[in-house]
């Protein structure tokens, strides 16, 4: 991440003059909005393109796995169990004699679904609760903050084991529901902070003075400015949720066979690493690259939206 080096410099002009005062923009530089500016910044970063492409590829594969895999992930032959790579089966076979490549391709869907469902749920629930609590303050804020404290008291992995073993979970839906249930407070805190900051800005006070209602102020003035940290956090969280799903599968409370998922394959392969390391490499590699892509995308967006953090 060599972009992180030049600290004081914003696009176009030095953001801060060497003596600490803002430098007026030269007449040739058109004024740009935050989002335009962010896009301009992103469009010059290779990391952004690479991670976006990986994610796009992943989404396409999870919708149409047949595009790059011609076999059936559930058609396995025990005779092939743990066999290494061979022609037509370049990634080899797993414990059950299934083709590792095919299962890795088909496994993308479950991971992507868990990632997207839980992130959407967390983002909506967290942003709404956090936003309202930050905007209105008072008793609403107290209640929401205390409730989120309670959820914070339970480490997410621990809660996952308890909750999912109790509901006898094992589907994309139950895993996502659980992640939303325990994940929202963190985003709520971020949204709350962002809204409180935005609320005190002069343009919001001005809108208030002009008689704008709560709805209008929240949607037109605060939401666009408080959105940036929510988007950044959600992007990075999506990756970690995918990783969490795999860990829950490993602990035996996540998705369960005959579902096809990276988590299931990785946990099956991890225990067999001494006999057949190739079984672990592909699903674990695919998952790690996916998580990495989301983190990098989130990082790039954050850098673009908030030059101060560089």
């Amino acid at each position: 991440m060599p972009e992180n080096t030049d600290a004081v410099i914003l696009d176009g002009v030095p953001a801060v003059a060497p003596d600490g005062a803002p430098v007026p923009v030269d007449k040739r530089d058109k004024p740009r909005s935050l989002w335009n500016d962010a896009w301009y910044d992103l469009s010059r970063k290779p990391i952004f393109y690479i991670s976006a492409l990986v994610i796009l590829f992943l989404i396409v594969i999870s919708i149409w796995p047949g595009l790059i895999a011609s076999q059936d992930p559930l058609q396995c032959n025990l005779i092939d169990s743990q066999n290494g790579p061979s022609s037509g089966h370049w990634f080899g076979f797993d414990q059950q004699g299934c083709d590792v490549y095919t299962r890795t391709v088909y496994g993308a869907r479950a991971s992507v679904e868990v990632g997207i469902f839980s992130t959407l749920g967390v983002a909506v629930l967290g942003a709404v609760l956090g936003g309202l609590s930050g905007y209105f303050g008072g008793w609403l804020d107290s209640i929401i903050s205390r409730v989120s404290d309670i959820f914070f008291g339970i480490p997410i992995l621990l809660g996952g084991v308890v909750f999912l073993s109790a509901v006898k979970g094992g589907s994309v839906l139950t895993v996502s529901t659980f992640i939303i249930l325990l994940g929202w407070p963190q985003l709520a805190r971020i949204a709350r902070g962002a809204v409180i900051t935005a609320k005190e800005q002069d343009y919001v006070l001005a809108a208030k003075a002009l008689g704008a209602g709560h709805g209008r102020i929240l949607l037109r003035h605060i939401a666009p400015n408080a959105l940036a940290p929510v988007i950044v956090w959600s992007t990075i969280a999506l990756g970690t949720f995918i990783s969490l799903e795999a860990t829950l599968s490993f602990l035996g409370v996540g998705l369960k066979p005959p579902a096809v998922s990276w988590g299931i394959d990785i946990s099956a392969a991890a225990e067999q690493i001494r006999n057949a390391p190739h079984m672990l490499l592909w699903p674990a590699g695919a998952l790690s690259v996916t998580v990495l892509a989301f983190i990098l995308l989130g990082d790039a967006v954050r850098d673009a939206l908030d030059p101060k953090l560089r």
């Binding site: 030049d6 004081v8 410099i9 696009d11 176009g12 002009v13 030095p14 003059a17 060497p18 003596d19 600490g20 005062a21 803002p22 430098v23 007026p24 923009v25 030269d26 007449k27």
Partner: protein, 342 residues
């Protein structure tokens, strides 16, 4: 880490004649993604003991950067000093080792910053921060340093110094915090103090008190003072001479009363005209049109030409040198005579 060391006070042959501080043809540039920002482009000034030089200019004029270069606290990179000399008591500080310069900082040259709240360490007590000067430079014990810190706080007239020595910066008012900054600068009775907009962040009534205190202590210790400001009002009372900076150059350099009565540069003139005056009540206030230049794209010729009411063709092509105006005065304008004559 107590360093009890004496930096060589052996004066160079002409140290007696030389001014306390002399800056010669100083250049500072910043390497940015969009090219080289030329913050300081050949600045000359000097200060004697007991004298006050006011460096005046808008933000981005290079006034603070040149001071930070003198102090040796520029971040390099991105900053670079491609050219120039900074002679302190006759020795060029740019040729000194880092360790030599460090020993000058705080002990011989001290600096006061604009925003005392952010310039003081929020998690250390003011007593610790003041006492640190004595502990590091003079090797005093923790206890003795604390006693000295109380003494210092008394000297800058902070009430109940003994009780407040353990307090933290955020527990003081703005004016009191700036007094603590001044106390810190004075701790080792330096020869030169650089005050970078020392009163800008303060209320008007407090501004006067702080300036008064600074001037008083300067006279008491016979220190040189470089006062960096954009406020012409502050300058008039305390400065002996003024250097007006624009786009990294000094455009006018004169004793204080000369500038006020007869400016010799259109920029200085514009600045003076833009001060509201009681006798012009009801008239529209004068404003210099346009904006200061982008330092990566300084206009050719005289940097002020796009905003200058008197600009001619020559101003767009030739960089004006500092023409002597009378004895102790200079103006970097091709038309200084016309400016004066009006």
């Amino acid at each position: 880490m107590t360093v009890i060391d004496d930096i060589s006070d052996v004066p160079t042959p002409d140290a007696k004649l030389a001014p306390l501080l002399e800056v010669r043809d100083l250049h500072v540039e910043f390497h940015t993604r969009d090219g080289v920002a030329k913050a300081v482009n050949g600045v000359n000034y000097s200060v004697n003991a007991g004298e006050t030089l006011a460096v005046l200019g808008e933000s981005g004029s290079g006034k603070s950067v040149s001071a930070q270069a003198v102090m040796g606290i520029l971040d390099m990179p991105p900053a670079r000093i491609p050219k120039g000399e900074i002679l302190f008591q006759g020795r060029d500080m740019l040729k000194m080792s880092g360790e030599e310069r460090r020993k000058i900082r705080g002990r011989k040259i001290a600096m006061i910053f604009q925003d005392a709240l952010s310039s003081l360490n929020p998690v250390l007590s003011v007593g610790y921060q003041l006492g640190e000067m004595y502990r590091v430079h003079q090797g005093l014990s923790r206890k003795d340093a604390k006693a000295k810190a109380i003494e210092l706080m008394d000297r800058v007239r902070i009430p109940a110094a003994r009780e407040r020595v353990g307090d933290y910066p955020h527990q003081f008012s703005g004016g009191m915090r700036q007094r603590i900054m001044i106390a810190m600068a004075l701790a080792l009775e330096p020869d030169l103090i650089i005050a970078d907009e020392p009163t800008t962040a303060l209320d008007v009534t407090v501004q006067a008190q702080v300036m008064e205190l600074l001037a008083e202590l300067q006279a008491e210790y016979n220190m040189g003072l470089i006062l960096i400001t954009h406020d012409l009002g502050v300058v008039a009372d305390v400065a002996d001479k003024i250097a007006v900076m624009y786009a990294g150059r000094i455009v006018e350099d004169a004793p204080v009363h000369d500038i006020y009565s007869k400016p010799a540069h259109p920029y200085t003139k514009g600045l003076l005209q833009s001060i509201p005056r009681l006798d012009q009540k009801g008239q529209e206030l004068y404003a210099i049109k346009g904006l200061p230049p982008n330092l990566t794209r300084i206009p050719s010729g005289c940097a002020f030409n796009p905003r200058c009411p008197m600009a001619q063709d020559i101003c767009r092509t030739d960089v004006p040198q500092l023409h002597p105006v009378g004895t102790a005065r200079g103006s970097a304008c091709h038309f200084w005579k016309e400016t004066l004559g009006e």
